[in-house]
Symmetry: D2
Subunit: 369 residues, 4 copies
């Protein structure tokens, strides 16, 4: 797969219609975020919603217990089907499935020729599956050719990083590209929406901090090196960096904050780091798409910024906010990074992945329709 010349971009189906898309696990927190993200999308139309057996046959409006904001009537009246490629026909599939179900179900969809955008951890670390934040490592999408060959799938699986890895990876990518990040301390303060619904009991989080999130620290430690790695010879060469993570749950609805101490191959000054972050664009084909933010990363000036409640919705939830870039006593630099865990870290990230692939003609090329 090579990049098509811009004029050949086919953002819509050959017939000029929007692409029909399906959402798996549509009633959960990430599923609902897909519905909000895809509202009025110029290229994609929510054609199908699927959920667990318990909800099959209900309309979406009946089954979705919690809905933040307004639901369009069209989507509200869709009837939920099972998460089964025999019943879900859309070529593009956004999956909010949990890992325990995703392993089997997402593969079934890929085998059936669908392009699956996954938010589960099941396939993230597979060598032939791209783990992508488009601006950071969109080049890794080229792994799909290898994936199809290896797996014999007519469809494909593309994964999102874990939401806490996403904020760290987007914040480090510009600096890594230029100065070589080799050591990372990260401590996170993560929103409750990251645990889904019902998720975190209120008695656990009101007036409290829970200094532990199951399996979150290993995810950050392993996913980061893959995402910041290079695509070479049909494979990802992981970045050689040591990462140590401390993950915490705090009483925030949306927006994961990460404080970072960073060591570099070549230490930048604070000014160089800020300038690099400000000038960085990221992978060109990911820019200017419907879900692309104006600023992929945004460096705040305020001494007490970024903050989740104030800045999580920057760039409609797709901007990664950075602040407090300063010297570190132990490594080279310290800084704070924050982004919206449900949008940038899940649904919005998947949709942007889909936009990149569609704009590159991936769906037409592979005969997926």
């Amino acid at each position: 797969m090579t990049l098509p010349p811009p004029e050949s971009i086919h953002a819509r189906q050959p017939n000029g219609q929007r692409w029909p898309v399906a959402i798996l696990a549509a009633t959960g927190a990430v599923g609902q975020a897909f519905i909000r993200t895809l509202k009025d999308h110029p290229w994609f139309e929510i054609a199908e919603v699927a959920a667990s057996e318990r909800s099959v046959g209900k309309t979406y409006m009946e089954a979705a217990k919690w809905m933040e904001g307004e639901l369009s009537q069209d989507v509200g009246e869709l009837v939920l089907t099972a998460c089964d490629p025999a019943q879900v026909k859309s070529p593009i599939v956004f999956s909010a499935l949990d890992a325990d179900v995703a392993t089997v179900t997402e593969a079934a969809f890929a085998r059936a020729g669908r392009v699956v955008f996954s938010n589960a951890k099941s396939y993230r670390m597979e060598p032939d599956v791209p783990l992508v934040i488009p601006e950071v490592n969109g080049e890794h999408l080229a792994l799909l050719a290898h994936q199809r060959k290896t797996r014999g799938w007519t469809g494909a699986i593309i994964t999102n990083a874990n939401c806490s890895t996403t904020v760290v990876a987007a914040a480090l990518a510009p600096l890594h590209e230029k100065f070589g990040v080799n050591k990372v301390f990260v401590a996170t303060m993560q929103a409750v929406s990251g645990a889904g619904y019902p998720g975190v009991p209120s008695l656990d989080i009101l007036g409290n901090v829970v200094p532990y999130i199951g399996d979150e620290e290993p995810k950050i430690e392993r996913e980061l090196a893959k995402m910041l790695g290079k695509f070479e010879n049909d494979a990802i060469v992981h970045a050689p960096m040591i990462v140590t993570a401390h993950t915490n749950r705090v009483a925030v609805e949306n927006g994961h904050t990460a404080v970072l101490s960073i060591g570099f191959d070549r230490k930048p000054t604070v000014e160089e780091a800020i300038e690099t972050l400000r000038n960085w664009k990221g992978y060109a084909p990911s820019l200017g798409l419907p879900t692309s933010p104006e600023h992929v990363v945004f460096v705040h000036d305020g001494a007490d910024q970024p903050q989740p409640r104030r800045h999580a919705m920057m760039g409609r939830g797709m901007t990664t906010s950075i602040g407090r870039v300063r010297e570190c006593k132990l490594l080279d630099l310290r800084m704070v990074a924050m982004s919206h865990n449900v949008i940038r870290g899940a649904a919005g990230g998947s949709v942007l992945n889909a936009e990149v692939l569609v704009s590159m003609g991936f769906l037409s090329e592979t005969g997926v329709q």
Copy 2:
């Protein structure tokens, strides 16, 4: 000053009465915590309360805007005086003054022969002023002899650490003593009560994290080395350690949480570290006093512990809770520490300092009465 034999402890005045004590800045958050801590104290009796001009002449009950819990009638009816040694007669003075006022006022009290227990940063880093958590570095109280000589004071000033330094110092002390801590990465999640009242506006903290607390990071970085230092030849030799801090405010009422990555001169195993923490007692004369907790540090077993709402009140707010001791990818070990910022980190710490000095005969010896 040498330690008296146990039988010579004079916890009360020579006349058998409780020591009269005064509280400066009595109506603020820390001032109120002194009142709660000293309620029914066997050795000390709140004889005087002082505050800023605005409150002078009012009864305590009238002036204290916020009071958590119940106020005894005796204290409620005390009339507030000015923070002036000409008007405040008690030999023992607990000061909750802010740094801008503390510099002049606390010195005036010390000059006037009072023993001042300070919570301000004004004198903490002065070479002749002890900065003390009794169990951690009670030996530093011996600096007072030097202080009096240098300053010509008949009284004295003893300081508490900043509340966020306190939780870190108490957690590291047992390990430092045995394995030599030389590197510390610390990220804090601090309670709003640390900022006093009115302090943090609710619009800044509901659903939010503020990744900055003014001057907090330098305080931790410099105070820690002094507190974990050694008393030698009438001076404190700071511990040779590199500390880098990230301080954050979260929506918690009480209890500062710190996540730590630690480097050692001699790396302990996780088991050795836990055993060391569990067996540690701390400076002997600080144990068994009225405000001493049963456990100075307590290592929790739960994977998601400690947590401020569940554990801040352990040991009536004086225990430092520790959990999640585990390997660190970058340094040697990671762990979580948490303690009550207003009790252990402020009022309770000062009262325990006073108890140590009183139990050692310091007040009688110096003629302070």
Copy 3:
């Protein structure tokens, strides 16, 4: 059953030992509150803890997911049994069972000769079951003689009111006694602990109000009239009052607040109402017991009081706080009432009920041992 003369009070077993007590559903939120309330109780000793099948065989410490504060080692090591009178031998049984299980299980215990203090709604409205806040309507305990006759039980069931009814009933009782309450508007703002654990998902309550609590409004409307009713001829004559309730869940951990507009048979002035509330003592045999608060109701002076975080723990959680007594435009008076929903409204209320019965010789009299 008539009141024994004070000198005949047998607060302990005839052998001088504390009464062994059992807690059913001991690991839940109310169960844990029983454990905290009974810690160091002079008359009762936690001898047995029981829970659902899932937890049977585990120690209490293993099974209790959430524990606020410290657990004594003795209780932590108790092994959980099934909620079955064949396995639980204690004569006094504190039940935190949910209504669906309570109906059958509590009756089984009463039939087996145990005195059951229930927090479920199952038996509250039964004509022969007392629904008691001791200070408010301790006289209703006399219904137990009738209950035993009717049911043929050698034991008994005594119920607590719902936690939101409790705060309203305690606040109205003094006024009802003197001025005859006939109309009540009540709007509640209830703590999340009222829903148990895991209970309310954090995504439902952070930055939010949920203006609905299942079945809560009918409970208040029907239980209040029974509790404020009179015991006459072996039956409770419900108070003739019209009650309309609006119940809401807010982001508070502990403490239910109720705002009230009240109509009277004979309208008191604001001053008369306050004086009546201040002078009221309640049912004499309920006073001076181990769990009795110093103030059954306490009228606050502050214009913005009472508040759950500041006042829920007054009287170790057993005082009902009242404030803002003022004229009402529509009915006669308005006021605010607040009490601790888990202590006064559940576990502490049950324990006080038990203390009243024990102090009256009920257990000895009935041969329950």
Copy 4:
């Protein structure tokens, strides 16, 4: 002033440009809400921002401590002037001034020929000043002719209701119009943003309810009758209703919730009430304007709705959400109402008022330019 025929609507200035508008007290919470509300407004352009002396001369970006979301560069670079009609030239003035300053300053602007949209209580109850929610009582704007005559102003003052009155008035208006509301019991749960910034200290609201908001209950009780009154003979005849209010502050960022018991001249059934609410449109000239919501009131079906976090932003913050319409035991019906206090209850309400007047040709007619 009579309504112009639709074709004569001059939503823009005669020269086709957008109307320049000024914001007084632009840096506070309501001032910032004006900036967000007016972003990309088709008729109005933020030309001037004014604030207290302390901020004069700074750019808006420098002076605004808290900004939720993104600030356009144009507005960020505006330099703050004093709140003085000699320095502020725009014909349309949105005032977020506090009452203590508003009394003098707003009159000065009106005298100087400006049309002032006020959020202060200063003029709300003046007989010649309209207190308007456009859809509810837009007819009251006709009072402006009388105001100008009485006061001799070339400009005018139009006021918004208090934010808690707004939610109640909008919810009751449809029912009052048809069934005659004569009694209202209302209990509110109000967001902290209603108190501005810094406003409510976090120690007062985390895990807490404050059952008192200064002067809030009288405001609701008196403003409601005026707003639901009739315009007759150049005056407002207040609606004859008895209102009793209980106002409370809760830990919610945005969105005031009110629970209501309502008495009617002619009692509707629950179904009639819901149908009336659903079919109501409100004052015709207020519909279809840039800030008008699709639904002025929206009746939710969910048993636990409306909720501030889920529904405050409906209709871009301009919809009043209603739910739980049901029988009342004491009066006729109960229900829950909720709207965004900063948008519908303040800035958005003022902007909609301005849109109505502009669309009716009021500015052109009166020579205000």
